[in-house]
Structure formats: C-alpha cells, structure tokens
C-alpha cells in the first residue's frame, strides 16, 4: 500500500475545500453582491441602525429639539459617566462576570475626592490621582475575592454594592461636600473652548472633527489594504466608500453641532481616549483576546495556558478604576459629592452592555456596542425628558427596550445558528 502524501488526504474530497471560499458570490451579478454585503453589515451593525432609528424617532417627536447643538452637547455630558462605566462593564461581562457595585463605588470615590479636594484642599490633580487609586484598590479587593477565592462576581459585587454605599455615607458624614475647584469641575462640564476664547463657531472643534474624519479614512483604507495583501475577502469598493461617506457626514454634523455650541466637552475627550484605548485593548492585545477566550470557554482557555485568574483579577481592578473615573465626572458635573450619587448607575451600565450586543453567558460583546447601547439609553432619557414624559414612564420604557433588544439578539442568533 502506498504511503499517502501528507498534504493530500485520500479520503477527503480534495477539490472541495478550495472551491468553497471562492464561489459564494459569483461576481457576474454585482448588484446582488452589493446587496448581500449591505445586508450582512446591517445584521452585524443592527445596534447602530437601532441608534439611528431612535435618534430619528425622537428628532421627529421633539420637533428637532433633540438635534439642536446644545442638546447634542448635553447628551454627551449627561451620559459620559454611564459610558465610562459601560466600557468597563462590557469587558467584565465578556469574561462571564457582572459588576453590581459600580454605582456605589462611584459614590464612594466621589465622596473621597470631596474630602481630598475640598476638605483637605489638595491640588485638583492630586485629588484625581488619589481617587483613581482608591478605585483601583476597590478593584483589587473585589478581584481578589472573585479571582483567587472563587466567589461568584454576582455575590462579591452585590456585597460591594452595600459595602461601598455604606462607606460613602461614612466618608460624607451625613453631609454633602460641595464647591469643588474649577479645574476639577471641568472634568464634568468643562469645554475645550474655555481655554481658547469664544468664537461664533469654534474653529478648534471643527478642526478636530476634520482630523477625526481623516484619521478614520486613513485607518479604514489601511485596514482594507492590509486585508487584501493577506488575501482576505473585502467588501466591494463602492459600498466601502458609501459607508465612509455616511460615517464622515455623521461625524461632521456632530462636530459642527458641538462647534456652534460651546465646543468640545472635556468629558468627550476623556471618552474618546478611553474608547480608542480600550477598543485596541480588546481587539488587538493579548490581554483583550484572553478575555474573549475566557468568556467563550473558560475550561478551554485554561487548558490553552491562559492564566484565567490573573485576567479576572485585572478586569476588576480595571473596572474599579473606571468606576472611580465615572464617580469623579459625576461629582464634578454636579459640583457636589452626595449620598445618592451613582444610584442605579450599575443598571444603566449593564443595560448599555447588553443592548450593545454583549451575551449573558459571556464571550461576546464589543466596546463600540456598549457605547452605542449607552447612547441609546441616553437618547431615550433625553428625548423623553424633552417631551415632558415623567420619570416613571421613562423607567418602564427603558426596561422594555432592554428586554426587546436582548430578545431580538437571541432571536437573531437562533436564526443564524440554525440549531
């Protein structure tokens, strides 16, 4: 009997494996090819479409007030801290955990920062650094119990929710702490124009918007070229350009709106940096990839040599730090550290992650999705407030949206999975 050559196995239908890749879309019909790509993108970016739908809906319902420059600026500033939390939360959820304590931690850190910046009169930057360090320590505490003792995150952070709410009250001593220094307050409601003087339409903001558009285009084109170089399939050029034009237009409108109000909010800068950095962490670093691997199948990850405990631990340290940052932004915005701060933040952050496509079982989710999920919640809040709908109905509607979003996701996956 002849020895089968290693590269060609005798039993397998040898031609098949090569053929399948090429013949999905015969290129003779460019329109159907186009359409299939658009549909695939819509499926993948369903959450993005949902955001646009919600924006359009409320733009109509509020007679355009929603899209006024001042309101767009407010949307960012009012939701900044939720979006910061959503970034950390989606990472925790991807790894298969949850964090119920972030609202309390935000309140606790906000209270501490009040002590540092107001009562002790420390410089604002030192107060910020100390506060973030406290958040990290909270994360070390919770991460220790979760990763090394093995207590479910649900329990540890439920305890944390009580512990840090209590400690916040202790630090505050039953009083509000207020009147923060101006630099500190800028974290929550400062604008970049404050530094450069006033214009009718802020040129700096427009400039940043233009740079963002150029950066986006350069990055997209480079990714596309890289993929082509490595023989990966890319979408049709026309669709690629259409998408770029649409997204650029959105950025342009956004920048123009901000420019014609007060310019770029400091919160937005913080957010942009976080989204960029964490987007790279989750997609391109070993740490981020380990998070996905752990969430997808913890056993398999362990047996592939991934140090799951270490990853869990650092995830919670990270979450604690981001919760601290959210607490700082919130406190700065109100110019007040109070006992009710951060109430219900955890639920909004968790909702944002799930609306943004994260899976309850872990392993699935994106930073971008969580941000868009947070924005959907923000637009709902904002739109309904403008319409004068009471807080009670706002709650109910948000709950319903969360349920429907996840149900839609589950339905979609079931249909796609076939099993």
């Amino acid at each position: 009997m002849s020895n089968p050559t290693p590269t060609q196995t005798p039993t397998g239908p040898t031609g098949e494996s090569n053929a399948v890749g090429g013949n999905i879309n015969p290129s003779d019909n460019r329109f159907t090819q186009w359409l299939s790509h658009i549909l695939a993108d819509l499926g993948k970016n369903g959450i993005f479409i949902a955001l646009i739908a919600v924006v359009v809906l409320f733009a109509i319902l509020t007679d355009g007030i929603l899209l006024r420059p001042q309101n767009i600026s407010n949307l960012i500033v009012q939701n900044g801290y939720i979006l910061v939390l959503a970034i950390g939360m989606v990472m925790v959820i991807i790894a298969g955990h949850i964090d119920l304590s972030v609202g309390s931690v935000a309140a606790f850190v906000g209270a501490c920062s009040g002590v540092f910046a107001v009562q002790w009169g420390l410089p604002w930057w030192l107060s910020v650094i100390l506060s973030l360090a406290i958040g990290a320590l909270v994360g070390v505490w919770q991460g220790f119990w979760i990763a090394y003792v093995g207590i479910p995150a649900f329990i540890v952070t439920l305890a944390g929710m009580l512990i840090f709410r209590g400690l916040a009250l202790v630090v505050l001593g039953n009083a509000n702490i207020g009147s923060f220094p101006a630099e500190y307050r800028a974290l929550g409601n400062g604008f970049l124009t404050d530094l450069f003087g006033e214009f009718e339409i802020d040129p700096l903001t427009l400039g940043v918007g233009a740079i963002a558009i150029i950066a986006l285009i350069v990055q997209q084109v480079r990714t596309r070229r890289g993929r082509q170089k490595y023989g990966q399939e890319v979408e049709p050029m026309a669709w690629f350009i259409t998408k770029l034009v649409l997204v650029s237009a959105a950025i342009g409108f956004f920048a123009y709106s901000l420019a014609s109000y007060k310019g770029i909010p400091v919160t937005l800068i913080i957010l942009a940096v976080l989204i960029l950095v964490y987007g790279i962490v989750m997609n391109r670093t070993v740490f981020g990839r380990h998070i996905y691997a752990i969430g997808g199948n913890r056993h398999a990850a362990e047996l592939s040599g991934i140090k799951t405990r270490r990853v869990d631990f650092w995830l919670f340290v990270n979450m604690g730090t981001l919760a601290a940052l959210a607490g700082l932004i919130f406190t700065a915005r109100l110019n007040l550290a109070g006992p009710k701060a951060g109430d219900g933040f955890e639920l909004e952050a968790i909702s944002a992650a799930f609306i943004g496509g994260a899976a309850v079982q872990g392993g699935v989710g994106t930073i971008g999705g969580a941000i868009i999920g947070g924005l959907i919640i923000g637009v709902l809040n904002n739109g309904m407030s403008i319409m004068g709908i009471g807080i009670e109905w706002q709650q109910a509607v948000k709950g319903l949206v969360l349920l429907l979003a996840v149900a839609f996701d589950v339905y979609n996956k079931r249909r796609a999975g076939g099993q």
Binding site: T7, K229, I306
Partner: protein, 509 residues
C-alpha cells in the same frame, strides 16, 4: 409462553453518520443475571438506553418484548412503570437531599391532603435500606456517604419501584473491592428474590462470579451469548476483539530518535476524595518521532494521568518527576507545561478544547497569542494568514477561517484543536481520544496528521478507548489499569488479546 422475561429483536439504532446498533438480539431469561460485555463504544450503553426508553420508541428499529408483551416506551417513566429500572454509571442522586428523599424522588410518599408524609417516607426508606444491607439513617445526606453506599441507595430506589428487571451499567467501576463484593453479593441475593438483572461490565472475574450467561457485543452487533458453564476469559476476549484490522490506518515507518519525555513515578489522587489513588506511580517515556499508545479501560486513569501531567489540570497530591530531553522540568501550570513543549488535546473537544462561539482563526491562535504579538499588539493579519495556512494543510472544511468552530463537524473541530497545538509547536503532543465522535473518513485524516507530526520529530502520546485504533497507529503501547502501568509492549507483540489481558489486570492484593 417462554421463560424469557425480555427479548430484544433486531434492534437497530443510528445516529447521524454512525450506526450504533445493527440488528442486535438479546434474550434474558427470567430470574437470571445476564452480563453484557464489549469494548468501549461497542454499543452496550446504547442498547440499554433503547431498552429503558431513554431513546424512545420510534427512534430505533426492532421490537422489545417484555413479559410476553411488545412494549413501546416513550421515556424512562414508561419503562419504570413496567418494572425496568436502569442504574447509570454516573449515579443520578441529588447530593444535598437525604437518602430517603432520593429514594422517593418523583415517587413521594404522600399522606393526607397530598402533602408529603415524612414519617412514612423515612420508615419505608429504612425498610428498603435493610433489604440492600445498608446501615444508614435514611435522613443522612447523600453527599455524606461514600460511592459504594450511594450505589446501594440507587438499588434501594430501584426496589421502591417494584423492579422486575434491574440494569446496572458498570456498577463497580467506581467502587473499591470491598464495596464491589458487597454489591455483587447483593445482586445474587436479589436474584434469589426473583429479580432479573442485566449487568454491563468488562471485569471478567466479576462476570464469572455473578453471571448466568454472557452476551458479547462488538461494533453494535451481538456476537454470541455464552452460557455460564462455557464462559472462559479467552473466549470473551476473542469475541470482544475479533475484528479484522484491515487498511484503516495509513502506513507509517517510524524514524525514532532520542528520548524526549520521561515521566517517573507519577502519582495523582482524586481531587475531592484525596485518599483515592487515581494514577499510581506511572513510568513512561516517549522518543522523538515515536507514537506511543496508552490503552486502558474506562476509569483506568488515562485522562487523569495526562491532565495531571499537563499543568496539574486534574487531581490532588500530585507527585513524580518529568524530564524533557533528560532535563528535569516542572509542569505546575498549563502555561509552564506549554512553555516546556508539552501539549495536550483533550478528549472532550466541546467542553475543554474549543471556544465554540469564536472563529477558527481565534481558536487556532488561542494558545500562542504571544507569538503573534508585535509592539504589544496582536498582528491580526498574520494571524489570519497562519490560520488560513492550517485550514489548507489540515484540510479543515470551511469556506474561510472566520467560521465559528461551533458550526463545524466533529472531524473538522478536531483538526482545529490539532492546529492550535501544532501552531504552539510542542515537542510532545498528548492526544486524548483524538478520533472520538468522528466519522471514518476524518479519522483517516487525523491518523495521517499524527503520522506527519511523528515524521517531523515530535513525540506523540495517543490515548484511545478503541484498541484496534491504538494498535493500528502506535509504535509502542502501554497498558494502564487501575492507575498503574501493567505492561509495555512493542507494537509487534501487542496483540489485542495480550493487551486486554494487561488492561484487565488487577492490583496484586
């Protein structure tokens, strides 16, 4: 009117792609203890699942006649109503409930008003416990008694259902000798009370002790039924093995080099029950270019050995020494084991091997992301290129590497797992049941891959329940029984008969 309590005629059961049972016949006489023998995967458990209604009527072909009546069970409740009770290998008891609660689970002893009568429950339970010879308080929790006693509770539970035919699937696999003896005596005792038993086992001494007749199953077919007086070990082994080893395995000319891995006095205990020795002073070695097989029956400690070696992923109180190219190494964590060039592909791909919701690309890179790191970032185009290379060279049948591994067939999933480990570039690869649940064509491909790896100078350890497969691809085989290496044979001397003898060899006592 026959004396048979049970007759199964022409039972055929197919799973997608696999014929698990092909025209199996089985007759069990009233009041006897009937043993069913066969290799792992021969179809014993499948047959019992057909009988007990786990696979409902309509999902198989053939007839079941029980007490002269053709029966069509829809589920376990149906078969239990007729008096057929199956006790599975993995006991189906709730550890946090009491003995009495477990015995009457879903058969609760109700008093007035439909409420549970606890006095009656415990009283009835203690009567049943007396029948099986278990002296325990019926309110004791299951988790507080040993496996041997739990087995007796299962039997008491069966008795509570007025069992006529008791099926025991490898009842002594997890028991020590004393408990085994007690259990076998109990089976004989119940026989005296008119209860018929079917016992699935491959412990030949045990079969000889209790069985009145033995039916051997191989490849989903009944080979023969042997009456008690004609039962000999040789005959059963011959029946169990007797298949022709044709060209189901690619040719392989070994080029064996220096020793790569040597394990000395490797021991590991059960992770919870730390007094139970699962791996007992195992010594073995693998040389470059060599394929070494580890044979053993269910529960022999094969996977336990491999996993305890691979970063102490299994067990407690692990001891022993590992040498790689003559130098002693430590393998305390998986990362450490991988670093030293050891890889382990698990027997359970879906639970332990793959991230099913991720694509082929990310599964292949999972154990080697460090390699793809450039300036702190994962080079994702390179990752794509690597994955695509493996897709081609391993013949993974998928349109591209962005397909989720959950959508692949078993054979292709296994190729992804192998790709992952080959990309990690280990010196020694431990493959645990590399072809389990894979169709014949893909098996051949997997064997070819294994040969290729050996030809490239890797040391390969293959663990397999399928003896023919192990003998078909290995250069040298070890037999493992009760956690001990009971023999080592070059492939030329490793006849199935010799191997089975070693695999069933018990500890000298």
């Amino acid at each position: 009117m026959t004396t048979d309590i049970l007759e199964m005629r022409g039972i055929t059961k197919t799973f997608p792609g696999v014929k698990a049972l092909a025209n199996v016949n089985l007759s069990v006489a009233r009041g006897e203890v009937h043993a069913i023998c066969g290799e792992n995967g021969a179809g014993k458990s499948t047959l019992m699942k057909v009988l007990s209604g786990v696979y409902p009527h309509g999902t198989y072909d053939g007839d079941i006649v029980f007490e002269n009546e053709t029966v069509e069970f829809r589920d376990l409740t149906d078969s239990e109503a007729k008096g057929i009770v199956i006790i599975h290998q993995e006991l189906a008891l709730s550890p946090y409930l009491s003995i009495a609660e477990n015995i009457f689970l879903n058969n609760e002893q109700k008093g007035r008003g439909g409420l549970i009568d606890w006095n009656k429950t415990n009283f009835e339970a203690s009567k049943l416990l007396a029948r099986v010879g278990l002296r325990e308080n019926p309110t004791t929790k299951i988790m507080d008694i040993g496996v041997g006693k739990q087995q007796l509770v299962e039997i008491a539970k069966a008795l509570s259902k007025e069992v006529k035919l008791l099926i025991l699937d490898e009842p002594t696999a997890a028991l020590n000798d004393e408990d085994s003896d007690h259990l076998l005596d109990l089976i004989l005792h119940l026989k005296g009370q008119g209860i018929t038993s079917i016992i699935i086992s491959h412990k030949l001494n045990e079969i000889k002790k209790v069985a009145d007749s033995v039916t051997v199953i191989r490849d989903g077919k009944t080979i023969e039924t042997i009456a008690k007086n004609d039962v000999t070990e040789d005959r059963i082994i011959k029946d169990m093995v007797g298949r022709d080893l044709e060209h189901r395995y690619p040719d392989h000319t070994p080029h064996i080099g220096e020793e790569l891995l040597r394990v000395e006095d490797w021991s590991a205990h059960h992770p919870q029950d730390t007094s139970r020795v699962m791996v007992d002073k195992v010594n073995l070695n693998v040389r470059a270019g060599e394929i070494v097989g580890i044979a053993g029956l269910m529960g022999a400690g094969r996977t336990e050995f491999a996993m305890s070696l691979f970063g102490q992923s299994y067990g407690s109180k692990i001891s022993g020494r590992v040498f790689l190219r003559g130098k002693e190494i430590k393998t305390r964590t998986v990362a450490e084991a991988i670093e030293h060039g050891i890889a382990y592909a698990t027997e359970d791909r879906k639970t332990y091997g793959l991230n099913l919701i991720e694509d082929i690309k990310r599964n292949i890179s999972m154990a080697s992301l460090k390699k793809l790191e450039k300036f702190g970032l994962v080079h994702d185009n390179e990752e794509y290129r690597v994955a695509n290379e493996y897709r081609t060279s391993m013949n993974i049948k998928a349109p591209n590497v962005l397909v989720k591994t959950g959508k692949l067939s078993g054979g292709n999933q296994q190729k992804v797992v192998l790709s992952k480990w080959i990309y990690a570039d280990p010196d020694v690869l431990i493959l645990d049941e590399p072809t389990r649940g894979i169709d014949v064509g893909a098996k051949y491909e997997i064997y070819s891959i294994i040969n290729r790896l050996a030809a490239a100078g890797k040391g390969i350890i293959v663990i397999s329940s399928e003896l023919p497969e192990l003998l078909g691809i290995s250069d040298r085989v070890y037999a493992l029984s009760e956690g001990r290496i009971t023999g080592e044979l070059p492939i030329a001397d490793a006849t199935p008969e010799a191997m089975l003898k070693l695999m069933t060899m018990e500890k000298p006592r």
